[in-house]
């Protein structure tokens, strides 16, 4: 018997063909990678596919956000009221704090971790451009935020229809609320994602996002309050341009869906400015995100 540890004598070594074969199936391109990334990102935003602990926060927030809608549905069923106690679009500005915390806490999940741990290099080693990666991440967070915003609207809409309220009215109002939710979600996602990609320490990103969103909103509200006390309504309208929440409240009033905006835009030009600034904020944030990830990819 030969000694298995002995070296093969010089000149006697052979290469065996073990029959290994390369992958010959279809290779999916950038689009398929982006779609997969959007889907996993969306699941990760709710902690699905991650540890049990990371599911606690998003689902707690989602439950808290749904709670008033469920209560409204219950009250509607029991009392047989002939209108909803709160408008569809007004709901989101009542629960804006929950929404802010959700976006602030979940944006780092999607935008910080790959940068902090350097795993972004593995993604970009695929046929995936940095800009596509950034857009896919943004889409994931946008979808998660939309679920967060629209679910209560759906619950209330169902309650309204089951309570035999006027279908046309309810559908029109709910549709407006969904459109506004889209605008708000796009702006919040842009701001949250940009901050999370900049400050990759999770805690700082969360606090910075909250500071920008809620203190910004607080300052706008203070200015609007003072302006209406002083009788300077134009100042209040202009101030409303500076926070996504106040833009949302202003446009909700324009759409005639109640709300508590202190200074809704009155003139046509101002209303158009609200819509334009709302969209431009989102576009600018997404543009900055793409630019940021492109620069990270170059390094």
């Amino acid at each position: 018997m030969t000694d298995p540890t002995a070296a093969t004598p010089v000149g006697r070594s052979v290469i065996h063909d073990l029959g290994y074969r390369p992958y010959t199936g279809p290779r999916l391109g950038e689009g398929a990678i982006a779609r997969a990334l959007v889907l996993t990102g969306f699941r990760n935003a709710f902690g699905l596919g991650r540890s049990g602990k990371s599911k606690v926060l998003p689902f707690t927030l989602l439950a808290l956000n749904l709670l008033p809608a469920v209560i409204i549905a219950g009250v509607m069923a029991l009392t047989g009221a002939d209108e909803l106690p709160i408008g569809y679009a007004e709901y989101a500005s009542t629960t804006q704090v929950l929404l802010g915390i959700f976006v602030a806490a979940q944006a780092p999940v999607l935008f910080s971790r790959d940068l902090r741990h350097g795993t972004i290099a593995l993604y970009l080693a695929r046929p995936l451009r940095a800009s596509t990666y950034a857009l896919a991440r943004w889409t994931s967070l946008l979808a998660a935020t939309l679920v967060f915003l629209i679910l209560p609207v759906v619950v209330m809409y169902a309650a309204a229809l089951l309570g035999e309220l006027d279908v046309t009215d309810q559908t029109r109002d709910a549709g407006k609320a969904v459109l506004l939710a889209l605008l708000l979600a796009a702006a919040l996602t842009g701001v949250g994602g940009l901050i999370a990609s900049w400050s990759t320490r999770r805690g700082f990103a969360v606090v910075a996002t909250i500071a920008v969103l809620l203190i910004g909103n607080g300052i706008v509200t203070a200015v609007q309050g003072i302006a209406s006390d002083e009788g300077a309504t134009m100042v209040g309208e202009w101030a409303g341009l500076f926070s996504p929440y106040s833009l949302y409240r202003g446009l909700a009033r324009v759409f005639g869906d109640g709300g508590d905006s202190l200074a809704p835009p009155t003139s046509g030009a101002m209303q158009a400015a609200y819509a334009v600034v709302f969209v431009a904020t989102s576009v600018a944030c997404v543009g900055a995100l793409v630019w940021r990830y492109r620069r990270m990819a170059e390094r």
């Binding site: 808290l64 606090v207 500071a211 607080g218």
Partner: protein, 236 residues
Amino acid sequence: MSTITLETVSRWYGNVVAVNGISMTVAVLVVLAVVVRVVAGPGAGYHAVVGLGFTLALPIVALLAASAVLGPEIDDGSIVYLLAKPVGRHVVAVSKFAAAWVATLTLGALPLLVCGLVMDAGDPGRSLAWTVGAALAGTAYTALFLGLAALTRHAVVIGLIFVLLWEGLLGQLLGGIKWVAIGPWGEAVAAALSSRVEPGPGTGAGYAVAAAAVVTAGSLWFAGDRLRSFTLRGDE
């Protein structure tokens, strides 16, 4: 002890993101006060601006300060080198608290005094009362958030939920929350010091001071206790 505090303070102020974010917020608040004073005259909008600083900016500054003195060190694991020093864990907790407390007072309570004096120079007593209330609330906030940071990685989010949901949203709906929320205690002290701080939440300054002291001492002891049985965990 003082070495840890000094080192933490210098690190905190060296943290560009934290300091830039907070200084910008505070600066915006002060600029707002100046603009309102110039445009609308003395006294106008005082409550809106100072109230904003007290109920929103102050707790957020305290939260950032408290989580910044402990969180990054726990995240990158370098806290073990600190804990390996022959210094009591409670001493470490108190030193960290001192660092965060300095930051909260200088960036959370002091700007309120500046805003107040800018907007209503005629009545410094009112601004001083708000500042003392803010210092008291800021102390309790900082200690509570430090305890949270020693307890869990999600201290920031839990702290935000406490401030924004419990004190903010629910506090407006359920009056009884003033007994178990930190902000109203600071307001109670401010209301006791100046008659122009109205309306006080009605817990009484005695209860407010005692409750804030209990929360501060309890949280600090808890933070030290958590550090005593500290285990490093992986990221999520």
